[in-house]
Amino acid sequence: MGRFIFWRLIQAIPVIFAVITVTFFLVRSAPGGPFDSEKAVLPEVKRALEAQYKLDLPLHEQYFAYLGDLANGDLGPSFKYPGRSVNEILGSGLPVTAELGFYALCFALMIGVFAGVFAALKPNTKQDYIPMGMAMIGICMPSFLLGPLLVLVFGIQLEWLPIAGWGDLPGDKILPSITLGSAYAAYIARLSRAGMLEILSQDYIRTARAKGLPEWRVVTQHALRGGLIPVIAFLGPAFAGLLAGSFVVETIFQIPGLGRFYVQAAFNRDYTMILGTTVFLSTLIVLFNLVSDVIAAWLNPRLRAQFSRGNS
């Protein structure tokens, strides 16, 4: 197991390095410098600014300077918000996005696993078709449509829940979490249904039933563990998707999280902010993929045996 984690970590490093390099040169190759637009700046002022942001150095020196800063955990200053560093902005947005993502994932897991397992217990009956039909709707209903519709119904018509904000009013975290999580609930429902169907037809489940275990114990103690491996493996990509989805949800609900900052940075052409956020989010996603792979491998007895053999 330790060896597996070690090799996955070794593989992740060149990926992260490639991300940093590609992003850096892409952003630097963008037409127009950050101080070209808006008010006319005196040439001396512009030069001073460029010197301050190290833009006067040759490109490769800028790159190595950036790598050096990164190694110290410094993502540099923001171009558009003078006096604020990218670290500060990320630091204020990350907890909000993490909380939103966490609630959304909890919602997706609860609803998705329950619906999928429920459907798999009686395949090709109403108990199967109804939740799976709803899952199909969940997959086809993009968050930027679901969000406004939920706001329209529960916020504006029924006036049950606040329509925007984060942590200002009671209940204002509910709609964003549902909006972000519902597509994943749908995917998880489909994955856990397929996984459960496969496991429930295995010999060891027949054995468990033959020895007279009640059905709920067959399901919860024997089938779930194997049946949910695809769901666990999906959590890595799901996390990446949740972060991307948070761009939309945070925009709709005016939540001060990473996604909103990123979209704003994209509009403002705040290059260091874009660069910093991309590097940060990519690293986070690569690491999260790693963790979900490790958990999936650990849950799978066959893989685990293979790795512990390799270890000893």
Partner: protein
């Protein structure tokens, strides 16, 4: 008697091709058939839009402003008094075009990449698939946004960027197909005839893997369309004066409190299309017996 047996045999032979079997199975799947018809109607409408749209695309009626659905404007009008049905029809042209063209880009890259990796095998294969694994681990949404920022919001780039993202799964599927096909006699025969590898891959292997390619293409189109709508919603995709369903939804969301129809109808158009594509894809997967799973 003999004659009827002969004709039966003939019929049996006629009816036994893979494609006819698949067609029969697909026809039995009502959801897939309805989805197919809906899509066909949708495509015909957007292709004919410049001739059949009830109003011209730019026609404004500022006196009218936003009005709910009526007999003159079936789906109502937007805040500039533009006919919403016309807007949705023109938006559909862009949304569907992005869906089809970007998927075609993904198809070409993915099939070629996967076929070469699977056919050549060995070290080339492991390097090529390692590359795919690495790309899988990257947050593409962020990269597309980055590309749009760096190179400006241009529709051609949007096609390429989305296509360049969506080819990965196609490459994996294609590689698995090729690996199993290249063991078969007809490929060995082609090799022993001295055909060049490119001819073997594209004339002999790819046509035999067409089933999974079709199924996966059908399932890629909705995810591409979703990506375009997503970007347009954020204001990073299609730009006015052009429009797309994502952009219409984004405008609709801004004014939904007063004019909910401006959100609901473009949303319906997008959802129905995505729904149909997914159902058709699932139906094709069952009909062509790809992977044999039912999820």
């Amino acid at each position: 008697m003999a004659e009827s047996t002969a004709s039966l045999l003939l019929e049996a032979e006629d009816g036994s091709s893979l494609w006819q079997d698949a067609w029969l199975r697909l026809r039995k799947n009502k959801a897939a058939v309805i989805a197919g018809i809906v899509l066909l109607v949708m495509v015909v409408i957007v292709v004919l839009t410049p001739w059949i749209a009830p109003y011209s695309y730019e026609a404004q009626n500022l006196d009218l402003g936003a009005s709910p659905p009526s007999s003159a404007h079936w789906l109502g009008t937007d805040i500039f008094g533009r006919d919403l049905l016309t807007q949705i029809m023109y938006g559909g042209r862009i949304s569907l075009a992005v869906g089809f063209i970007a998927t075609a880009v993904a198809l070409v890259i993915g099939v070629t990449w996967g076929a070469v990796a699977g056919y050549v095998g060995g070290r080339v294969d492991s390097v090529m698939m390692r590359f795919v694994d690495i790309l899988y681990a990257l947050p593409f949404m962020i990269f597309i946004i980055l590309l749009m920022v760096v190179f400006g919001r241009n529709i051609l780039l949007l096609f390429l960027a989305i296509g360049a993202v969506e080819w990965l799964t196609m490459a994996r599927i294609m590689r698995t197909q090729v690996q199993s096909l290249r063991q078969q006699e007809f490929v060995e025969a082609a090799v022993s005839l001295g055909l060049p590898p490119s001819a073997i891959i594209f004339k002999h292997i790819v046509p035999n893997a067409i089933g999974p390619i079709i199924v996966y293409t059908t399932l890629t189109i909705p995810s591409v369309m979703l990506l375009e709508a997503f970007l347009s919603f954020l204001g990073l995709g299609i730009q006015p004066p052009q429009t797309s369903w994502g952009l219409l939804i984004s405008y609709g969301a801004e004014t939904m409190e007063e004019y909910p129809w401006l959100l609901i109808f473009p949303g319906l158009a997008l959802t129905i299309t995505l729904f149909s594509l997914n159902f058709l894809g699932d139906g094709l997967r069952d009909a062509l017996d790809v992977r044999g799973s039912k999820d």
